[in-house]
Symmetry: D2
Subunit: 349 residues, 4 copies
Amino acid sequence: MVIIMKMGATEAEKAAVLSRVEAAGFRPFINPGVERTVIALLGEVDIDKVELVDIFANMAGVERVQLISDPFKLSSRQVHPEPMVVPVGDGGVAIGGSTLVVMAGPCSVESREQILESAAVVRAAGGAILRGGAFKPRTSPHSFQCLGEAGLALLAEARAATGLPIVAEVMDPHEVDLVSQYADMLQIGARNQQNFALLRAVGRSSRPILLKRGPGTKIKDFLMAAEYVLAEGNPNVVLCERGIISFEDATRYTCDINAVPVLKRLSHLPVIVDPSHATGDWALVEPIALAGIAAGADGLIIEVHPDPQHARSDGKQSLKPKRFAALMERLARLAPVVDRQLPLAVRAG
Amino acid sequence: MVIIMKMGATEAEKAAVLSRVEAAGFRPFINPGVERTVIALLGEVDIDKVELVDIFANMAGVERVQLISDPFKLSSRQVHPEPMVVPVGDGGVAIGGSTLVVMAGPCSVESREQILESAAVVRAAGGAILRGGAFKPRTSPHSFQCLGEAGLALLAEARAATGLPIVAEVMDPHEVDLVSQYADMLQIGARNQQNFALLRAVGRSSRPILLKRGPGTKIKDFLMAAEYVLAEGNPNVVLCERGIISFEDATRYTCDINAVPVLKRLSHLPVIVDPSHATGDWALVEPIALAGIAAGADGLIIEVHPDPQHARSDGKQSLKPKRFAALMERLARLAPVVDRQLPLAVRAG
Amino acid sequence: MVIIMKMGATEAEKAAVLSRVEAAGFRPFINPGVERTVIALLGEVDIDKVELVDIFANMAGVERVQLISDPFKLSSRQVHPEPMVVPVGDGGVAIGGSTLVVMAGPCSVESREQILESAAVVRAAGGAILRGGAFKPRTSPHSFQCLGEAGLALLAEARAATGLPIVAEVMDPHEVDLVSQYADMLQIGARNQQNFALLRAVGRSSRPILLKRGPGTKIKDFLMAAEYVLAEGNPNVVLCERGIISFEDATRYTCDINAVPVLKRLSHLPVIVDPSHATGDWALVEPIALAGIAAGADGLIIEVHPDPQHARSDGKQSLKPKRFAALMERLARLAPVVDRQLPLAVRAG
Amino acid sequence: MVIIMKMGATEAEKAAVLSRVEAAGFRPFINPGVERTVIALLGEVDIDKVELVDIFANMAGVERVQLISDPFKLSSRQVHPEPMVVPVGDGGVAIGGSTLVVMAGPCSVESREQILESAAVVRAAGGAILRGGAFKPRTSPHSFQCLGEAGLALLAEARAATGLPIVAEVMDPHEVDLVSQYADMLQIGARNQQNFALLRAVGRSSRPILLKRGPGTKIKDFLMAAEYVLAEGNPNVVLCERGIISFEDATRYTCDINAVPVLKRLSHLPVIVDPSHATGDWALVEPIALAGIAAGADGLIIEVHPDPQHARSDGKQSLKPKRFAALMERLARLAPVVDRQLPLAVRAG
């Protein structure tokens, strides 16, 4: 159930509603960032809901009360009819508006030279955010395990050099503060998508969150993971489709392009696509990137490496700088077909 | 193994190669429709292949001999580097070239009025081929089972009225002749994609074949089904991605957009996408149609119904005429982004 | 809707009900092989069903009228509370009763010697039915394509030598008569499980049918395929779980053992398991065979080959005679745990 | 690569080998719990391995050097040919030996009365370990979130009352110590199966670990997760198959019974099956439990609740005490068929 307050509702009226919500045994959730205050009732209470609707509907300052059928209450479009625009960094980058956002960079931060060169490539081609793994989950404990905090420092140096905000993965609830000191946006990786302790921890952060879909997670459970973040008070979640598992083994994962319009219909949160991890094959990155945008995605996250053949992880799926620039030009031509645009830099190129 | 003959190879030289192939115990397959004659060696022969390569490479008129690693020999791009263009009907429609081809129409032929109205709608919006089920597989034997030959006659009438060639499904090897009397293109439905008796039967037909991917079939086995058709001598096969099964139940099937660039890379055969059956939801047809074309498809097959709410089958996924026209206009804007075009009619509109 | 007649209902009463069913626009289906006559109403009729229930319930000789919620009406346990026992051949073999039935033999009939030796092995170890492919679907048109009618004749010879009834696959609606001349039971292979033309053809046969589940078919659609056979008047269908596709690639298919109790709950038809095709690995055949029986299956179908290393197809999954005998002995010990038994021969061994 | 030392190898010989391993740039891993010392070489080193084999093979005290093809080195049967037996608690319970181990109890600890009654039921029927969620991952943040430490204390009280060791889930790396104070065995839930921070944390614990397979994880990646635990020095890992996702929706998950013999073949670690979460349906628990044991599992984990209809979570899949007792009796009859036994209590019953 959500209670939509009138536009001019007073603080006293809101307070009265809130205390009534608590009296009924619910946890009230005040939805930030919308024109009028919306209060969601959370918790499992054994109560006659229809009667409760009546009570709230008749309180002062309440416009209307709505029963929500979606189980993901806070991430539901039923509660937020307007799309959410998520700001990243303080240079004006925002995901979910009319401008498509492309995040790009290497899979892992390997060296100062590599990340600075990558950042320059990303910026020159019109990318808006720099990505790069410092803490990275590896399927095998015996594989290269990344640079850790030293990698974060290099990312920050690359930000200083290019002005690009940076997104970096966080893997442990107790590392959220550390990663937040460096990164503008925190990534929850696919393997941690149902790590509820971690979701709660980033829900208490002030950084926007890039939430990657687990490869075996249904769309409705994916939204439930977003719900964990939102329920802790962080409204800035960007959803990322990065391929699901299926019987087809011609591609590493099956990029579920269908999820893009389905997520946009169910939720107000922005949606981006990761064609690099989904396909595991650089030659498929461009067609799937274009497909994602054509299907309505708000942006992309792409692996770019100055020298893919010598990358320490996932080189097979990384684009060379030249191919990345070609993709960005193609995207600039595609954007208006779906009533979007790319930043000025690319359009000029 | 394939033997590529020189451009000026004489008939005598070809005959000598063919008889040597047969002497070695193979069935020779002469590949039609390419600039120079290519002879594929079919069959399982227990022989030293390297030695055989030498023998053929030294025969008169032979340019080179190539060992093929793909198991789908005849549908492999290793054998046919140039994309195949498949003509449909005799009015100049061709699938696989620079012009995108949109097939559209109702799921089932229901009445004379319905199919004539549908055909007019399809033509007006720039569709190139009319689809409509006359013999249709239904999961339940107790469901509406279509009009049969009477439906084919109505389709033919719609062709006469609009000039659109027609595609219709064939379900029984012994009905291939009957359906061929009416239809310009024969469709093999998803449920019959590994019905080898049927594949062989249409392989002996002179009609082009629209082969739909089975929802549980891997890409390499899908190409093997095409191989059955090609091996009987019919080179005109169009592949159709129409959704695969997966754990995700938010959409009826998971439209495997990734299959489009993978199929185009592995095979010379044209590829189209069916967003209507894949998603089962008219609201998802446009984003997935655009995604398919953005990923490199040569065309689409779309369900359009003048009155979806009263359709006898699959109304939920059918576009209304107005929405179909809007999709065609959007496609006309998308086409040049992927270096394609739509027929003049749409571009003018 | 089904109409259950009283135990002493007269022919005149039945006839009256039947003509009333037809008058209402339905196709009546009289269910054979149960104590009292049950008449199912098939077809899609736009009619007030509640009113109709009243009409039939008040006719003479009618015990009660039941609305069926399952879409698979004829294969539903709602209609047939008692399990079906399917006789095979005329030597007393029956599937679905208290005796477990093991079908065994080579994947393909390769030679007279091979099939006679296999039959002797199967019989000696206590197998009840001989299997062997004469017409076999092969994914590639370039693979070994089996012996055809000559293979059927060899199977018949093996039956004469051992007394074992034989099961053989039929792939084309127009070969049903031919295969029926030799085989005691007709198999519909997994790839043809939704080949509705073929299902209808075997539905008109008097032979019992072994229906293998398509690897991408949901349980409810699998029962719908059985429904096609039953709807043509053939009540003798045995369902076979043979592995479904999934993301897991450690086994060829994922044998869906869960399907065994689910099918037994939904339908009255017997269920067997094929661990050989499901796993594709002889070393996994015994554990999965035991698991299938432990889960409630009525029998098994197992590949046995006198010389697996030289088998022309699927040798990797075939048991050697000695291992097959060991499996049969283990099964004889397992049977009483699930309140079943094996034929006397095995128990004696 | 693993180095197998001779049975009488001296400490000095071992130390020499270890320092040579480190000199080559590898991290040595000494495998506990086997007759002779086995040293595994971990890490990615760019070195000529064949040459290295020679060097080690010629050192004093070395019996032989083996190159390991499995990527999961420490959990591989190539390294540990003998099955691992994992002790739980100090009352003689051990998983992986000739005695089948059944863990049972409610999904969540709800009250003192509920858990004490459950424990008595489990013990009376012959269960060996008590399960019960105190910290439980819930898909929705708005669902009942369990009792936390108070739940653990109740479990400990139930242990004191019955003598049953207890297994409880841990969700956060920083709660490992807390949960270890109460529980005899730590469970890693399916959603955290690739939470590498958590795997590392329990790898440093002295408690045995129950590792549940992620529903979208391939067998080889499941073993990689075990590898994370083993690599930190904890050799006591029990693997649990609890259902994978698939297209089939007749059961909540598809219990991958095939995984049981595959895991037993690849790894020395014990394997158990969770039919309750896999099927989500109490009526399917018995057939799938029997199937798991028939396929070779070392035990089961079963949800039992004294009053399933009023359970706060997962009541639909919980067995009533009477049905649990019936299952245990059936298991006692099945055990000898697979050369196992149940504890004396059950056999007596």
